[in-house]
């Protein structure tokens, strides 16, 4: 078990494409760290550099106290689980799991014991004699995990290990992965493009975009205090609503105005917004912070909207709304009766508004 430290990591492909830009990360011992971002954001490249499968263009990677830049993958004491499982098709499940131990010249008895232990943890004792092609997707995934845990490595690396599974199995394996990590306590680095996986699995989450780290933080920190508009839009489902508004002053108070909105600046952000007076900023609000307005709601924090689509999910209803020329999604109580074409008065929670600079997309 060990911490993993990345300092000033860069990756260039063919000297031209800058895939990973100045990444600095301090992954703590026993931590479950998730890299999340859209495809091509550099998360997998970063993971592969930690694994030793890609050259590091510049910067240092340390595992424990050792600088590993120049070490071969086999000498880094890591284990990796791949998206397509990468099980050796000509070997039985037992041999698949034992391969790493055999390569490291472990005693036969020790190999058998470790494979048995791992198989027990994962519930695949009955499959040890089978070949990979005789296994279902979920079983293959377990074997791939087993192959990683028999080695008792310092760090686990996961490269989108659940994306080949169907939706239901994915949720189930997600929980098992989390339990496995709690049981083994090995430092884990997990790459995914699925923000739900990132939020549920990660002790901390790294959000990446275009090779840059956008934000590092605990899941709720990312959710409640996103550092950039990108993080705000990426984390959370349904995604945060954005609206371009102009900061103006009226009757001594700050107002946020566009064609469909005219609301007061919330007290918690008033000072920061005053610096943007007369300029355009991006207002962000999560669907669950919108609700149908009642007579008691102050007019300063409400607006009119036209219902375009009603999505009934059971536990809640998603209303796709037209607000001025923009669109918003509101997650409302399942008891709300709204149909296409309704005009509704929507109230927003003033304490939960986010503001982003229209040019830099950074949080104001």
């Amino acid at each position: 078990m060990a911490q993993v430290v990345l300092s000033q990591i860069n990756k260039f492909y063919d000297g031209a494409v800058h895939a990973v830009k100045d990444v600095n990360l301090d992954i703590r011992d026993r931590e479950f760290m998730v890299f999340v971002g859209p495809s091509g954001c550099g998360k997998t490249t970063t993971l592969r550099m930690i694994a030793g499968l890609e050259e590091i263009s510049s910067g240092d990677i340390r595992i424990g106290t050792q600088r590993v830049n120049d070490l071969a993958p086999m000498d880094r004491d890591i284990a990796m689980v791949f998206q397509n499982y990468a099980l050796y098709p000509h070997m039985s499940v037992f041999d698949n799991m034992a391969f790493g131990l055999k390569m490291r010249k472990f005693e036969k008895d020790e190999i058998r014991k470790r494979v048995q232990d791992a198989a027990e943890i994962l519930g695949i004792q009955d499959l040890l004699k089978r070949k990979p092609r005789q296994l279902s997707g979920g079983q293959r995934q377990r074997v791939a995990l087993g192959r990683a845990i028999v080695r008792h490595p310092q760090v686990f690396l996961f490269d989108e290990p659940l994306s080949n599974l169907d939706a239901k199995l994915r949720v189930q394996m997600r929980v098992e992965l989390k339990k496995l990590h709690q049981r083994l306590g090995t430092t884990a680095i997990y790459v995914t493009h699925d923000q739900v996986e990132a939020m549920t699995l990660g002790d901390r989450v790294v959000v990446m975009k275009d090779g840059l780290v956008q934000q590092v933080g605990e899941p709720l920190e990312l959710y409640n205090a996103p550092a950039t508009r990108f993080v705000a839009g990426f984390i959370g489902s349904p995604a945060m609503n954005f609206a371009a508004v102009t900061v103006t002053e009226r009757d001594g108070g700050l107002r946020l105005v566009n064609e469909g909105l005219d609301i007061a600046a919330p007290p918690h952000a008033a000072d920061r917004l005053r610096a943007c007076l007369g300029r355009e900023v991006t207002l962000g609000i999560r669907p669950e912070d919108l609700r149908i307005a009642t007579a008691a709601d102050p007019a300063d924090f409400a607006f009119d909207a036209l219902v375009e689509v009603v999505e009934k999910l059971g536990s809640e209803i998603l209303l796709d709304l037209k607000v001025g020329r923009g669109a918003m999604v509101a997650a409302v109580e399942p008891t709300v009766r709204a149909v296409y074409g309704d005009r509704l008065r929507i109230a927003l929670n003033p304490d939960r508004l986010h503001f982003f600079d229209a040019q830099t997309d950074a949080t104001i």
Binding site: M74, I78, M80, F99, R147
Partner: protein, 283 residues
Amino acid sequence: MIEGAAWRRWVYFRLPLGFLVLWLLFPFYWMLITAVRPDGELYRPWNATNYTPFWTTNPTWAHVEYLFEETIFGTWMWNTMVIALASTAISLVCGVLAGYALSRLKFPFAGSLGTGIFITYLVPQTLLFIPLAEIIRNYRLGDTPWALILTYPTFLIPFCTWLMMGYFKAIPKELEECARIDGAARWQAMLYIVIPVALPGILSAGIFAFTLSWNEFIYALVFLSSPEQKTVPVGVVSELIRGDVFFWGPLMAGALLGSIPVAIVYSFFVEHYVAGLTGSVKG
């Protein structure tokens, strides 16, 4: 599949297929029937009343006996076998290693090198045997099996390399990466993971190489001269065609016996062979 009435299936599928099968198998039938036909029937004029070109009523082993008693057919078979196996082995080792390197290792000009190797395969043997004869003479290899064991790889290695390149590309590279993380050095990952997975491809390349060298004619004709060094295709032709006299019976018996090893090799590995050509790796 042809759908609809039964006659459609007959007209568009079964009859054309039957015709094609007959067309393809007829030369083999002709070889077989000629090999067992007694000389009396073989040289009967076409307008004789009892002329029966497509069957025989009294088959004989006389031609096969002639082959083994009057010629050194056994020696030719042995020579061909040794030469084909040795050149196949050399070509497979080189082809597998080169194919792996060209498909997996990133080095400058890997792509153009691959194309270059393919182009050498396109140079016709009828052109290449002239300079090769010079080399064989300089190294004093003429009239020895080495003349063929060392020249057959000139066309077998490019062929095997190309086949293996395609096959290695179809194997997910994660398999190898996983092995390398698991503690295998690059050569161990190749030996324990990539090569066993590529076995169907290696077998197909081997079968092809074996067949090509078994049937090879022109190098064997040019580089070997004494009868006891010859291979089956050359031996049969040079000993059983004397001037304008064709010993059709023994010729066809030789062709028949000569094709048996190839047939055995094919039927033995046919499943792997098909898997190799379709390049299927089941994960």
